[in-house]
Symmetry: C2
Subunit: 246 residues, 2 copies
Amino acid sequence: MTYCVAMLLDTGMVFLSDSRTNAGVDLISTFRKTVVFKKDGERVIVLQTSGNLAISQAVVSILSEQINANAEGGHLLSVSTLFDAALLAGAAMREVERRDGEALKHAGLEFNANLVVGGQIRGEAPRLFSVYPAGNFIEATADTTYFQLGEAKYGRPIIDRVISRSSSLTQAIKCALISMDSTIRSNLSVGLPLDLVVLRRDQHSVATHMSIDESNPYFGGIRNAWGDALRHAFVQLPEPEWLKER
Amino acid sequence: MTYCVAMLLDTGMVFLSDSRTNAGVDLISTFRKTVVFKKDGERVIVLQTSGNLAISQAVVSILSEQINANAEGGHLLSVSTLFDAALLAGAAMREVERRDGEALKHAGLEFNANLVVGGQIRGEAPRLFSVYPAGNFIEATADTTYFQLGEAKYGRPIIDRVISRSSSLTQAIKCALISMDSTIRSNLSVGLPLDLVVLRRDQHSVATHMSIDESNPYFGGIRNAWGDALRHAFVQLPEPEWLKER
């Protein structure tokens, strides 16, 4: 499986993804699930992928090929809105479905892949889209601070509690890493290294793009400190006296 | 959906379940998912159910009928081990499958129900079983502190971090309620009121069996205090200075 989270804030965007891919538990590999398309000073578009790796790689290939070929129908570095970028991603998904869908069904496999497409193109605010296997998509609105892909449930409660549009980028990074850590601890199919991409609003360039593994001191510190803080908070909460009294 | 958690500790057992049942989002009802079978001074057996309500109600009916009819093949108040109780629950599941399985498949529905069977019968230690839709089951061993049913993922990280076999009953109740609260906050299909059952080891009676709703002061206090503690712990953790420096 996979866990990706993408947050849309007043001051920018944070994208975090793991890199574990498994076909059963005996074939586990590391594949990056985040791809960045950019033209510095003009646009950054970040793609996160989940689901069948063959499908998501094919989608990324199609989108990259369109750029290399300067495709007539437009490509991620030529479209003028993020909405058009999401349309291209959805169309690429449909192209892969047309090519592979029948064979997958024949093999008893679902056509299963989801994308997050986010970023900013000069002239627009930052935008964030979630693209479904059918190629249709939804956009994050004022009430939506984040989209997740894959094993989303373990890491969701902490985001729901602490992040809003007005959170800072550093708060969002911290929260995304805690959310990822909770997921990794409870689910074997999600693992290091992580890909972190941060965009500052209106800068039209990548503020940070880094790989985070066991040796990253910040992530290591956060993991331990968060575990300690949770246990401490838990101990501090009152226990049910009504049970003791009986 | 449903969320149930059952914890097996050195000093007893804690069972917590929600009560929301939904057939789609426009037919939401309240049904209790915890049933207690007991003979004071000799045994307490607690059943938690998830999945298709018609199936789990049918299973409970069969097990209750066996008791009322003092069935020759044994019943939950006559068997001498929890293992035999789990066998009876699994057999009841199979009986319902034989009766309804084909019709469900015809209607395009999966035969979907899971049970937790736990408790203590005099002469044995407390035991905890998880029964699958096929009627087979697994038992919690020394490395297993808890089983969950239904929407298990949201509430799992906190249990993994703070509960072990040596935790006290009051710690386990506190943790189960926090785990439930995290689930309710992130998933509409899980809701109040809750059923809490607590057994003390070797007492062979129910220490606590209560319904918990919005008006319960302990649960209300825990919910608020836990949210505050999480936000406080989050704020206390260091932010990524490397982002600020750039």
